[in-house]
Amino acid sequence: MQYELHTPLTREALSVLKAGDTVLISGTVYTARDAAHGRMMELLDAGEPLPFDIRGAAIYYVGPTPERPGQVIGAAGPTTAGRMDKFTPRLLDLGLACMIGKGKRDAAVKASAVKNGAVYLAALGGAGALMAASIRSCEIIAWPDLGCEAVRRLTVEKMPLTVLLDAHGSNLYESGPAAYLQSLSAD
């Protein structure tokens, strides 16, 4: 199935998604990767607010290349999400609704996503030029000293994504290869 989603995201809108579905997401997406996650944890430890409203938000794990003059953003494909696993359940408990990245997540992230009704969506790894095409605006909103790791507010239009982990615990990285292998034995 293919769904269109608009931010901010609600549990209800996400609950219909199943691992393997495709999603076209439009609205606001925030970028954050390794260093920005570290700083967000420091803010939370100090009782300070995060640089954006995390409730119903989508975070894209990306560190784009610098934009050329006249371009909105450079190449902007996903980074490996598993490096953020250590920080993610805390953000999910605060209302983070959608993670966009690539690669495996740990058991704590999966359990927290189910508990909070959140989803993890795949952008195409290594397809930075293609993923950039659906980004309409890009603005650094926190920690410009982090360079490519600074937090950016992106406006996206129909960004094409695939559901990896749905809110009910299904995982495309398990079901996808299993279905393919099953098709071979059925021949």
Partner: protein
């Protein structure tokens, strides 16, 4: 015997161009392997995914964007003739300046932290990760192979026992790919080092990733092992991006070297579907 002089500035210019070229255009042998994979892929989601990856290569060329936002560590390999003499600066400085200019002028991402624990970005993607081989002649062959972290992080090395033999090598390679799963952006390319010492084995694996996919190992024994491993990986069903399918690995390249009677090192350096490299001769 005459000594040929090579200007450091010429090395800088070459490295600058190679950094930009390698990040924007995939080598022809890898593009051809991806085309073959699209034609052969029976699983619809996998075929669609491979077609999107091909569209990305076209989009990068059209919009003068890097293929991937992880424009990598600038791994630079210099094969320097022993009858060549570099003038006007050091090789190290010339290569670093080329990386600095290429990554700035090419709008490439600066992904290097100057210290592994203090984590301060060097802001210009230096230093280059430089490997120099002294070779016969008076030439200078430079290869820039930008290496992304998604695949680099899933690479592994083991000091096997000689009694583990070729089966131990196969098991370790396949286990490495299984553990990596979707993380290294499959379809992957594997560089495998077998033999040498701990450090030389890792370098063999990295060197193996530089070899074009249409050139098997010159030793038929290792060429057969490359094919066997590639087929075994593709039977796992991981598929493009880990979504499932027949195309998990585009090629395996093994480089072997003499080792100690008590050693059997094996190293697996994983490359992603945009394993980049560009070469120039001065």
């Amino acid at each position: 015997m005459s000594i040929r002089e090579i200007q450091a500035a010429a090395i800088t210019d070459a490295v600058e161009q190679l950094c930009i070229q390698a990040n924007r255009f995939l080598p022809q042998d890898i593009r051809a392997a991806e085309e073959n994979a699209i034609a052969a892929e029976p699983w619809p989601l996998a075929r669609t995914t491979l077609e999107l990856l091909r569209s990305n290569l076209d989009a990068a060329a059209d919009k003068e964007l890097p293929i991937c936002q992880d424009t990598g560590m600038a791994c630079v390999f210099v094969e320097l003739g022993q009858d060549a003499h570099i003038t006007g600066g050091t090789l190290r400085d010339a290569v670093d300046e080329g990386v600095r200019r290429g990554y700035t002028k090419g709008y490439l991402r600066k992904s290097i932290t100057g210290d592994p624990l203090k984590r301060q970005n060097t802001e210009d993607n230096t230093p280059a990760f430089l490997t120099v081989d002294l070779v016969p002649g008076d030439g200078c062959r430079i290869t820039v192979a930008p290496k992304g972290a998604g695949s680099e992080n899933m690479s592994r090395l083991a000091m096997l026992k000689p009694a583990d033999g070729v089966q131990g090598v196969k098991d370790f390679v396949l286990e490495t790919v299984r553990l990596a799963g979707s993380n290294p952006c499959p379809p992957i390319i594997l560089g495998v080092g077998v033999g040498g010492s701990f450090d030389k084995c890792a370098l063999l694996a990295k060197h193996a990733l530089l070899r074009p996919l249409d050139k098997p190992n010159s030793d038929p024994y290792y060429a057969a092992l490359e094919k066997e491993l590639c087929d075994a990986i593709n039977a796992m069903g991981i598929g493009p991006q880990g979504f499932g399918g027949a195309t998990t690995c585009l090629g395996v390249a093994i480089e072997q070297a003499p080792t100690h009677v008590a050693c059997l090192p094996v190293a697996v350096n994983i490359g992603c579907h945009v394993t980049r490299r560009a070469t120039a001769e001065l």
